[in-house]
């Protein structure tokens, strides 16, 4: 069995997150103390040498970001922790913050020293009250010990951390939108450059790192870049935390070295598919990512390999889907999410995604023609190339990746008016198999529209006009006497 390696989750589940002494006992804040003895340039160089890449999704080299922020001119600078985890199915950042808040606080303080900032801000979803609470406790404990605040550990370096609650908009995870949100404006993105490292929060140089990225910092400073590079692949060193969810037996958090294969994560660590059904696809990278089919399960995963497959690492959500999943419906789910979350600033994203969603609805309701597919793909590319920020630029990925790997299913919906997974309501019908029906009346009792008729102990029938295809009868029947056609 492939082994998990815990760097980011080194303390999560192991220490009391509300007790700083527990963190200290595990060599907590020693990395900060060590950094304070080094020159700022040396700290940045260590992060550069480690090749750590941003765990928020894009995989930009963290050290380079730090270097730009350090070199930026300005007496006031900021370190922002991006804890706006909005991907459906992702909960890595929440678990780190709830399980080990000090690892993030320490990472921020080291970053603050390295770039010359005195102020840190954690931008966190308001939907994470427990994480917020534990961060507050952590900040006040660290201050009491002189590990945050004025003249940290007797040095000239002062650094304080504040918390800002996000209102729960997906786009606010995007750097520039996040900055606007903290400034009190609508969370809308702006063009880059200027990059936040030069002109960020209140036009001051600002370093924005994700929770998981920051949790990697203290161990790197303490143990060195070479130590870090022994894990993972050459271009993507270290580990990655994945939130394993969906139709997999062992739902939970997984931290593995980069380069571990999808198969190892899903079938060994994850225990395989629930109910011993067949694997169909795995969705990575949230709405910005895509679906990867069975033939690529042995790909060692890192930033670059996932992008080659038309998906992306994203923050690390990993949703496993079994054979009962309709891939067109999955694309529709993610498009609906993007449409709901689009800030509306640029036309391609605001209008383009709505049109794409309409096309998917046409396909799943059995009203599409074959030429719609070409139109859909070309519009998807327009949205991808013409949108202002990362949200719009990646919004068509779920469509494009499912279309690449599951084109047959799209065609079946249109040509045969058939949904092989039995999900798209307009294309399916529930029928009772008379030979298998015992007349137990269980289905008739759960049917909300009284569409099932029949006498006790005699085979029942479904009145198709009344049936709303909710599937209650199907999941209730204990004799497998109801089929989807």
């Amino acid at each position: 069995m492939p082994e998990q390696v815990r760097i980011v989750l080194r303390n999560a589940g192991n220490i009391d997150p509300e007790n700083i002494e527990d963190y200290l006992k595990n060599n907590g804040y020693l990395a900060l103390a060590k950094a304070l003895k080094l020159k700022r340039e040396e700290v940045v160089q260590t992060v550069l040498d480690s090749n750590l890449r941003g765990r928020g999704g894009g995989g930009f080299p963290t050290g380079l970001k730090w270097k730009f922020a350090m070199q930026a001119k300005g007496d006031e600078k900021y370190v922002v922790c991006n804890a706006d985890e909005g991907d459906p199915g992702a909960f890595m950042d929440r678990s780190v913050l709830e399980g080990d808040p000090h690892s993030v606080l320490e990472g921020m303080a080291i970053a603050g020293y390295a770039i010359g900032a005195q102020k840190g801000i954690i931008y966190i979803r308001a939907e994470y009250p427990l994480a917020v609470e534990r961060l507050k406790v952590g900040i006040s404990q660290a201050k009491n010990y002189g590990l945050l605040g004025e003249n940290i550990l007797g040095s000239n370096f002062s650094f304080d951390i504040d918390i800002r609650l996000g209102a729960g908009a997906f786009v606010c995870g995007e750097e520039t939108a996040l900055i606007h949100s903290i400034e009190g404006f609508r969370g809308e993105p702006t063009n880059k450059p200027p990059f936040p490292a030069n002109s960020g929060l209140w036009k001051k140089p600002t370093l924005i790192n994700n929770v998981e990225t920051l949790a990697n910092i203290a161990p790197i400073i303490l143990n060195g870049a070479d130590w870090f590079k022994q894990y993972g692949t050459e271009n993507s060193p270290g580990t990655k935390v994945f939130a394993l969810a969906g139709d997999v037996k062992n739902v939970g958090l997984v931290e593995v070295p980069m380069g571990t294969t999808l198969r190892d994560i899903i079938f060994d660590i994850g225990g395989g598919i629930k109910g011993d059904k067949r694997f169909k696809a795995v969705q990575t990278g949230g709405p910005s990512g895509g679906c990867i089919p069975e033939e690529y399960l042995d790909t060692p995963i890192d930033y670059d390999s996932l992008q080659e497959l038309g998906s992306m690492m994203g923050s690390g959500g990993m949703i496993v889907m079994d054979e009962d999943t309709c891939m067109v419906d999955v694309a529709k789910f993610y498009l609906q999410f993007t449409v709901d979350e689009s800030c509306g600033k640029c036309t391609t994203c605001r209008v383009g995604n709505v049109r794409l969603l309409e096309m998917l609805e046409k396909i799943t309701s059995g009203n599409a023609k074959m030429e719609d597919l070409d139109y859909m793909v070309s519009l998807a590319n327009v949205v991808k190339n013409g949108s202002l920020c990362g949200l719009g630029q990646t919004a068509p990925n779920p469509i494009l990746s499912t279309y690449t790997y599951f084109e047959e299913e799209y065609k079946e919906h249109i040509l045969d008016r058939n949904c092989r997974a039995g999900i798209c309501k307009n294309l399916i019908r529930y029928e009772i198999i008379p030979d298998d029906c015992t007349g137990c009346t269980a289905c008739a009792r759960v049917c909300p529209t009284e569409a099932i008729l029949g006498e006790l102990r005699k085979p029942h029938t479904i009145e198709q006009e009344k049936c709303i295809k909710c599937g209650s009868c199907y999941s209730t029947c204990r004799f497998n006497a109801i089929k989807i056609v």
Partner: protein
């Protein structure tokens, strides 16, 4: 707690905390992340404290931790006995606490039916 003024003070505090720790104590870790709490791990925690007191068990500490990663098996309880590998129990609902305490802590046997396999190692 007076503020720490130097690396040396921090190091000596860390050493002091490590030394102060009672190495002979049994530590039970209950995962109380959002996933654990929604599965009832806070009730498990309270029940553990209650049963340990009822059984008059000494030298046991129960601590609240964040999520250990085994969300599918919440509530989870990890039993750390001095000199032994930690044992990880899953699906320890309030109702199962009594059995766990009796089997593992009173009789000193592993409660096999609740055990889940642990697959991770710490890099540090």
């Amino acid at each position: 707690m007076p503020k720490l003024k130097s690396l040396e003070q921090l190091e000596s505090l860390i050493n002091e905390l490590k030394e102060k720790e009672n190495k002979n104590k049994i530590v039970l870790k209950v995962a109380l992340g959002t996933c654990g709490i929604s599965a009832g791990s806070d009730e498990t925690y309270e029940e553990l404290l209650k049963k340990i007191e009822e059984e008059n068990l000494e030298n046991i500490e129960v601590i609240k931790t964040g999520c250990l990663g085994y969300c599918y098996a919440e509530p989870t309880v990890e039993v750390n006995e001095p000199g032994k590998e930690p044992v990880l129990y899953g699906n320890v609902t309030k109702a199962k606490v009594k059995d766990l305490v009796k089997t593992h802590l009173v009789e000193g046997k592993i409660a096999e039916e609740l055990i889940i396999e642990e697959t991770h190692k710490k890099a540090i």
